[in-house]
């Protein structure tokens, strides 16, 4: 097993990447709210610019507070290094950008976050990087989609909106047979529930905006380099195995080996694209990560309890979660997410789109908004918000039914979540009744 720390996960979450003695004994990680760093001497400055030594030059590229978060995430996921970015989307962008060039191709799971679809389908296309979308757990479809110019396979550990767990060992094994890496967006699971690198993933991406931060106060992203992929043997990655002119012809594979990808992102993307996280946000996200494991336990426990309760309610037409028997990926979820497959669930109310809207409007505790992974319970009715412009057929094609309500289960007292939902279901039932009377 590839690891990068011999501490337990609860200890890593609290301590990894920081020791107090170098910072006036400050027990908490200090916020280095600075753009730049004074050099000891001209020689020291040139050593830093020439990568002769590690250290900080400018906070677009590295910052000591952000470095603690990066090292902590790398340790939690068991990777060789991590790069934090301004958002989850920029983490995905710099990953694709570092591995692909014009003329290249990506194979992606079809069921992924909407903005990631746009990035792969439209934005990268402008740079002549193509993408084929497949049902990711269909081995044959995956195999058939891989081309000579394919540079990576991409999926989310739990796909969105269908909430299907991705069969990472199967997907990575097919990718590796073709000499290409598997990139996994593990936002919905966090390393507490599943560490994709242990199941064959080569790169892990997070929107740390979500459960990792947990408090809904800071947007951020991270790329974790798994460190196991042999970029040279693959022969498909000139960005990592051929000289890079801006750094005296540096060859990232020869120079850094297992951290070649992370270092390429640092030296190229952070410098030239500059989607840097702010030190203040890194600090806030570190506060979140300290309690990640405890919060995830409660997220998962609440989700399980709410699922059971929802299944018993007359007003509820159906419930979906990867752990449920009728979810097509239930066996995969049981194998890869033994503690539970996350706290995202969806359900439908009798009465369709209008009843769904009535449910949402009647809630008080739960927040109706476009985010997931907050400590508070969040709900969204895509049919009347994000996807309101689509007709029923178009909704179905997107894997969304008109009655679908998406829930990111929070860590409030479960009795209060249920009571809030009971109010919502009463309102939904009334609307459904009215609709039935209208015929």
């Amino acid at each position: 097993m590839s690891r990068s720390s011999y501490l337990g996960d609860d200890t890593i979450a609290l301590h990894s990447g920081y020791q107090p003695e170098s910072d006036h004994g400050s027990r908490a990680v200090p916020i280095y709210q600075t753009t730049s760093y004074v050099f000891d001497s001209v020689d020291d400055a040139s050593a830093l610019f020439n990568v002769e030594r590690g250290g900080h030059i400018y906070s677009r590229i590295t910052n000591p507070t952000i470095a603690v978060l990066e090292q902590r995430l790398a340790a939690l996921e068991g990777g060789s290094g991590a790069i934090c970015t301004a958002s989850g989307m920029s983490a995905l962008f710099v990953t694709f950008f570092s591995l692909c060039s014009a003329g290249d191709h990506i194979v992606s799971a079809a069921q992924i976050y909407g903005s990631t679809v746009t990035l792969l389908k439209h934005t990268l296309k402008r740079f002549d990087i193509d993408c084929t979308f497949v049902a990711i757990n269909d081995a044959e479809a995956l195999e058939n989609a891989i081309q000579d110019n394919t540079k990576l396979v991409f999926c989310e550990s739990i796909g969105n909106p269908g909430l299907e767990a991705s069969d990472l060992p199967m997907i990575s094994s097919i990718a590796h047979q073709h000499g290409i890496p598997l990139v996994v967006d593990a936002t919905f699971a966090t390393p507490y529930l599943c560490k994709p690198i242990q199941h064959g993933a080569d790169v892990v991406v997070h929107s740390v905006t979500k459960w990792i931060g947990g408090h809904g106060v800071a947007v951020g992203g991270a790329v974790i380099d798994g460190g196991n992929f042999d970029w040279l043997a693959s022969g498909r990655f000139p960005t990592l195995t051929e000289p890079y002119a801006p750094f005296h012809g540096m060859n990232f594979w020869e120079e850094f080996g297992p951290s070649a990808l992370a270092m390429r992102i640092r030296c190229e993307s952070m410098r030239d694209i500059g989607a840097a996280m702010s030190p203040q946000n890194a600090f806030l996200l570190l506060q979140g990560i300290e309690t990640l494991n405890l919060r995830m336990q409660q997220h998962v426990e609440n989700a399980k309890s709410l699922i059971t309760w929802l299944q018993e309610q007359d007003a509820v037409a159906w419930v979906n979660h990867p752990d449920l028997d009728h979810n097509p990926s239930q066996a995969v979820a049981a194998a890869l997410f033994p503690k539970g497959a996350g706290s995202m669930l969806s359900f439908g109310v009798n009465g369709g789109r209008e009843a769904g809207a009535a449910f949402i409007d009647a809630l008080q505790l739960s927040s109706n908004l476009a985010n997931v992974g907050d400590s508070r319970t969040l709900v969204l009715h895509p049919g009347s918000t994000t996807h309101s412009r689509l007709n029923e057929d178009e909704l179905a094609a997107a894997g969304i039914s008109g009655d679908l309500i998406r829930v990111s289960v929070g860590i409030e007292s479960i009795k209060d979540i249920k009571s809030d939902f009971a109010n919502g279901l009463r309102a939904a039932a009334k609307t459904a009744e009215k609709l039935a009377q209208q015929g």
């Binding site: 720390s5 990894s16 590690g54 090292q71 790398a74 990777g79 991590a82 750094f247 951290s259």
Partner: protein, 262 residues
């Protein structure tokens, strides 16, 4: 760069500059199961400050082809072959752990070609626990974990890194798990000639030790220093993976030593 040594493709890191055999050459020798990357934060300084750098991956390690060498004596002889293949005349040898033992064996063959010697986190003998060797034979990855848990000092166990954002234990794990660690450890364990070779050295020598070293404990390093009649540099808060854990302090000592020679 890649050179051919005894018919095998051999990778040699040169610190980011084209190798020039006319410049004074600093040879950087990695330890058991590792490769040239343990010198990432020293090699470039030398290469950009008037030296040529020659940091090879031993046969069968990382980017070099061939079978791993089974004795320190064979490694010493191989090093001289490698230097000859690259057309290098005089050298400064710097070795970490097993790399220093190998340098000791190359010394009598090199004779006057050897200008100086620097030893980092090492001793005249490196006995290895037989249980670790057995584990390495059966499961390299597990043995690498044992080595890294012992090898890195306390700060690095808490995820500290000289390179922002990276996890040196994670990087070391991947390198060691894929290299012939068992062969290296056995070679170290069998090597007996260290004291004799050290006593015979005629060139300037310096020794840098790591206070928290549990693989080659400081007391063993101090014995070697006494034998050589030198006063070693001891770096605090650092374990056996000295060039990686304390790159700045290691480089400072290496620089100062080589600059005092002229």
């Amino acid at each position: 760069m890649y050179i051919e040594v005894n018919g095998q493709q051999t990778f040699v890191a040169t610190g980011g500059k084209t190798f020039d055999a006319r410049l004074p050459t600093v040879v950087l020798l990695h330890g058991s199961g590792l490769d040239h990357r343990c010198w990432a934060l020293q090699a470039r300084w030398f290469a950009f400050h008037g030296f040529s750098v020659f940091a090879p991956d031993l046969p069968g390690h990382s980017l070099s082809q061939g079978e791993a060498l089974t004795s320190i004596e064979a490694m010493g002889a191989w090093l001289v072959d490698a230097l000859d293949a690259a057309g290098i005349e005089q050298v400064h040898l710097m070795g970490h752990s097993q790399g220093f033992l190998m340098a000791l064996e190359a010394a009598p063959i090199l004779g006057d070609r050897l200008l100086s010697m620097m030893a980092l986190a090492t001793a005249a003998a490196i006995p290895v626990n037989p249980a670790l060797i057995d584990t390495a034979k059966q499961n390299t990855s597990k043995a690498a974990d044992m080595m890294l848990q012992w090898g890195f000092g306390s700060n690095h166990q808490y995820g500290i890194s000289a390179v922002p954002g990276m996890q040196p234990i994670g990087i070391g794990q991947r390198i060691m798990a894929n290299n012939p660690l068992a062969v290296d450890l056995q070679a170290c364990n069998q090597y007996q000639a260290g004291n004799e070779r050290a006593q015979a050295l005629r060139c300037p020598v310096h020794l840098v030790l790591a206070k928290q070293d549990r693989m080659t404990p400081v007391r063993e390093g101090l014995k070697l220093a006494k034998l050589l009649g030198i006063s070693p540099t001891v770096i605090p808060n650092t374990g056996h993976m000295l060039p990686i854990e304390a790159p700045k302090e290691s480089l400072q000592t290496m620089k100062s030593f080589i600059q005092t020679l002229n």
